[in-house]
């Protein structure tokens, strides 16, 4: 009973607080924390589902009216949730360490960027960009191209494991980025480092503003990805992936065809990235190779590991935590320190205004992020929401 009251009250109050103090990052974090509480609380299933649906479908878009940036954050979180879940299949379930995952995201993004902008005229002569309505078909195209690229990567690396596989996938990720950077000659396919713009946005029904439209689109895709993940995990396919992770040789001796099962993992994981790439291209209107660096791959991997390898709620929370940390918490923190500095606050007899520029708070952001990762791995190596089985494995040490 108490938990039910706390869950309802927490979501309601924090939402009200966000509406009242739309500029406070802390209050928005409180709202997010209330959603995690709803997920964990011992309340009836229908209430949990209802509260989460209410928060994501109604409250979040409403809060976007008070502070548009929050909706942007939520949309980004949704994109990364789908990416983290895709990578979770490859790394968490099948145990195939992939350090070049963002390549599939890039392939999806470029597929719509090229055909959804006037850029394609340079390749095919005329008739582009495609009508905005094609965007929805390209979601499917992105999915298929992502899956195809996943298989393409999978084929040569099937015999590799662990460290070797990681290096090859790292190289693959770089190859895709370098290709995007250099395929402006002899035929201009990607427009090189200048990137492609303007990329068409999809037509939206009922004249919903773009920010809300993208939020709902990303939410819909992310929810589908969650569902598909759960279904895959709870099937002979998911079990075969886990068996390969545990003992490849024994899995094969028990009748699991290694080649097909591994390729399926690569294809499934990559297809989620491909579809989100299409959405990303349309949302950003402009894309360039800069968006698909090695650091992005590592970022998604950090989400999976931070959340708990192989765990779906883990990947969701990991993606949220990392995205919110990067977009809000660390930025907010350095802004706050900057304000202190500009105001000339004196700490222990030292005037912060005298701080040399090398020590500007904004320069610490990545360091703090790194420190958080290090501390997490030391004190909670199994991740935030580990799979139960995995928790036992690590808890024994």
């Amino acid at each position: 009973m108490i938990q039910t009251a706390l869950a309802i009250g927490g979501v309601g109050l924090s939402a009200w607080a966000v509406a009242t103090f739309p500029r406070s990052v802390l209050v928005f974090l409180l709202f997010q924390a209330s959603l995690v509480f709803v997920y964990l609380a011992r309340i009836p299933r229908w209430l949990r589902a209802g509260l989460l649906a209410l928060a994501l479908l109604v409250l979040m878009p409403l809060l976007g009216h008070f502070n548009g940036y929050y909706l942007e954050v939520a949309t980004q979180v949704g994109i990364f949730v789908a990416l983290a879940l895709g990578l979770n299949i490859v790394v968490g379930l099948a145990g195939l360490l992939d350090l070049g995952y963002v390549a599939f995201f890039a392939v999806g993004a470029y597929s719509w960027a090229i055909f959804g902008s006037p850029h394609a005229n340079l390749i095919f002569g005329g008739g582009f960009p495609l009508a905005a309505g094609w965007f929805y078909l390209f979601l499917l195209v992105g999915l298929l191209i992502g899956a195809g690229t996943g298989i393409l990567l999978g084929l040569p690396v099937l015999r590799l494991r662990g460290d070797y596989l990681a290096i090859v996938t790292l190289g693959f990720g770089e190859v895709i980025r370098v290709l995007a950077n250099n395929l402006d000659k002899p035929i201009n396919i990607t427009n090189g480092p200048k990137g492609i713009t303007p990329i068409a946005r999809p037509p939206v029904p009922f004249e919903v503003p773009y920010a809300e439209a993208f939020y709902f689109l990303v939410l819909l895709i992310a929810a589908t990805v969650v569902l598909v993940n759960r279904w895959l995990e709870d099937s002979h396919i998911g079990r075969a992936w886990e068996a390969i992770r545990e003992d490849e040789l024994a899995a094969q001796a028990m009748g699991v065809p290694l080649v097909r099962t591994k390729l399926l993992a690569f294809a499934c994981g990559a297809s989620f990235a491909g579809i989100m790439g299409v959405v990303f291209a349309a949302k950003q209107v402009f894309i360039s190779p800069e968006s698909f660096t090695f650091l992005e791959s590592i970022g998604v991997l950090a989400m999976v590991i931070l959340g708990g390898m192989g765990s779906i709620p883990g990947a969701i929370v990991g993606a949220t935590v990392v995205t919110v940390l990067n977009l809000q918490v660390l930025k907010g923190f350095s802004l706050w320190l900057n304000e202190l500095k500009n105001a000339g606050v004196v700490v222990l007899g030292y005037n912060l205004a005298d701080l040399p520029t090398q020590l500007e708070p904004a320069k610490y952001e990545r360091m703090i992020f790194g420190a958080i990762l290090v501390l997490m791995m030391i004190f909670r190596p199994q991740g935030i929401f580990p799979v139960r089985r995995r928790a036992r494995e690590l808890g024994e040490r």
Binding site: V228, D247, A253, G255, R389, E393
Partner: protein, 265 residues
Amino acid sequence: MSALFEARGITKRFGGLTALHGVDFSLDAGIASIIGPNGAGKTTLFNIFTGLYGADEGAVTFRDHALLGLRPDRITALGICRTFQNIRLFANMTAFENVLVGMHARVSLGLLDVLVRGPRFRHTEGVLHARASALLERVGLLRQANEVARNLPYGDQRRLEIARALASEPSLLLLDEPTAGMTGGEAGSLMGLLRALVADLGLAVILIEHNMRVVMEVSDRVTVLDHGERIAEGSPQEVQADTRVIEAYLGTRHSGGLRRRRAER
């Protein structure tokens, strides 16, 4: 009529070492044991039978299918499954899930079935779950179904490996030292289970075993390997009386009370 399972002239070299030299083996029904000193090539033979190794010479046929060159999962699908000498369970999956993975070759669902999750999928999963429960019950592990494999006691892990192998509905089961590390009582009850399986399912079994009492008690035929060569084949009594076997396998010491000298590799 050709035998259910037949291997002829199997030769396997690892670099300069000839691990197996022209070994013949055949089995129609019942339990056949392969014995021999450590390093005689018994496990290598199993690895060739199940497709984990290729052979340099020879042929293996199972129900008129040529096995050499087939992938391990294809061989499993044909109806041969095995356990491992050094237990190779899926350590972080539950006992139940381990058995479910064993059924992989018998699942006729595709990716689309999983994504649609229609009645066909639900029916199949239901059947799989029921069969997994039945198998676990058969080996006496139903209560531990949701226990993670790595947390099971040693003897239970050995039995779980057998259940997992049985899950693929084999007609030929290869057991690599299933009683290793078991007490006499445990080994006895495991052999009881094995005999019941042979009787109930018409299962043929090839057994690698060091425990001579078990071998002599349970086997219909015994094959003796030494240094990669077959030095004897026959009923347990015949093999026990064979002078070459006594020399090669038992040494020149008296024949009773044999022990494994050392865990094989």
